[in-house]
């Protein structure tokens, strides 16, 4: 798989560091970190990432709303939720908002790799 430019959206600095390390070990580049859904929406156009990893629970605008806003404006946006929420309804809400993948924290590097690969193969 080609290396990707990835934007991480998460308010936890520890998760950002863990995700960055895992993504970089998979050969990708973290081009931007946003700490809230609002920041992600504001930065998406300028950063134009190949893929976004999106948390759900964040201060201010949550990840589902941010996904909805990004995907309504950028039809080819590729967003994977990386969240602690395992509830079925939350997964359905994320998909309805435009998310292409869903990973439950704590994540394993292998699962992250598989999910990215699947999303790129299907929608990239």
């Amino acid at each position: 798989m080609e290396p990707l430019n990835i934007m991480i959206v998460d308010d936890s600095s520890i998760t950002v560091k863990k995700l960055s390390k895992a993504l970089e070990e998979l050969g990708h580049t973290v081009v931007q970190v946003a700490r809230s859904g609002r920041e992600a929406v504001e930065q998406y156009d300028r950063v134009n990432p190949d893929l976004v990893t999106m948390d759900i629970t964040m201060p201010g605008m949550n990840g589902i709303e941010a996904t909805r806003q990004i995907c309504s404006q950028y039809k080819d946006a590729l967003i994977i939720m990386v969240t602690s929420h395992g509830q079925e309804q939350m997964v359905m809400d994320a998909i309805a908002a435009g998310s292409r993948g869903y990973i439950i924290k704590p994540f394993e590097s292998k699962k992250l790799e598989e999910s990215i690969k699947k999303v790129i193969e299907r929608y990239g």
Partner: protein, 171 residues
């Protein structure tokens, strides 16, 4: 189902998920576990605590409260291999306390989900001091204690949350 039954089930499930998280993510073993099913009269917070408010039909607060040595060990093991700046260690330890609670609550709530309705919860709040909070007549505290070789942590369930403001002081 009333609050008491929900609360008991919730704190038991959170306790089990916490033991599993400590084992799988930080290689720390819980050597003893005690659970107080009766209402507690007060909540003694340890050195560092993280708090999340849960909405929906559960309507409660969950608090994780850690001995300093234990949260340091959790932080050390959980962030193993990451490039961390020593000057930011205090913040990173607090972030670890918050993220651990966030992950465990997110994972546990799958057991309480109702069809068509997602249960939302807040971002974690950190309380970085030992503090005693007394129970008012209408509040309910439930507590479980986990002991490890590095110290103890307490899990509190507090409900109903309308009794408290955001600083966790009585209204």
């Amino acid at each position: 189902m009333g609050l008491t039954l929900d609360a008991k089930q919730l704190i038991e499930d959170v306790t089990d998920k916490t033991i599993s998280f400590l084992d799988k993510e930080t290689s720390l073993k819980v050597i003893d576990k005690t659970f107080e099913a009766n209402d507690q009269t007060h909540m003694d917070l340890k050195n560092i605590s993280s708090l999340i408010s849960i909405g929906g039909n559960l309507n409660a607060y969950i608090v994780f409260s850690f001995d300093r040595d234990l949260i340091f060990q959790i932080f050390k093991n959980y962030t193993k291999g990451l490039d961390l700046v020593p000057e930011e260690q205090a913040t990173d330890i607090e972030e670890t306390a918050g993220e651990m609670l966030n992950i465990i609550i997110g994972n546990t709530l799958t057991l309480f989900q109702k069809k068509g309705e997602a249960i939302h919860f807040s971002t974690p709040i950190i309380i970085s001091e030992a503090k005693r909070i007394m129970r008012s007549r209408n509040a309910k505290f439930f507590q479980s204690d986990l002991d490890t070789d590095y110290g103890a942590m307490r899990i509190f369930l507090v409900g109903p949350k309308e009794l408290f403001n955001n600083e966790l002081d009585y209204l």
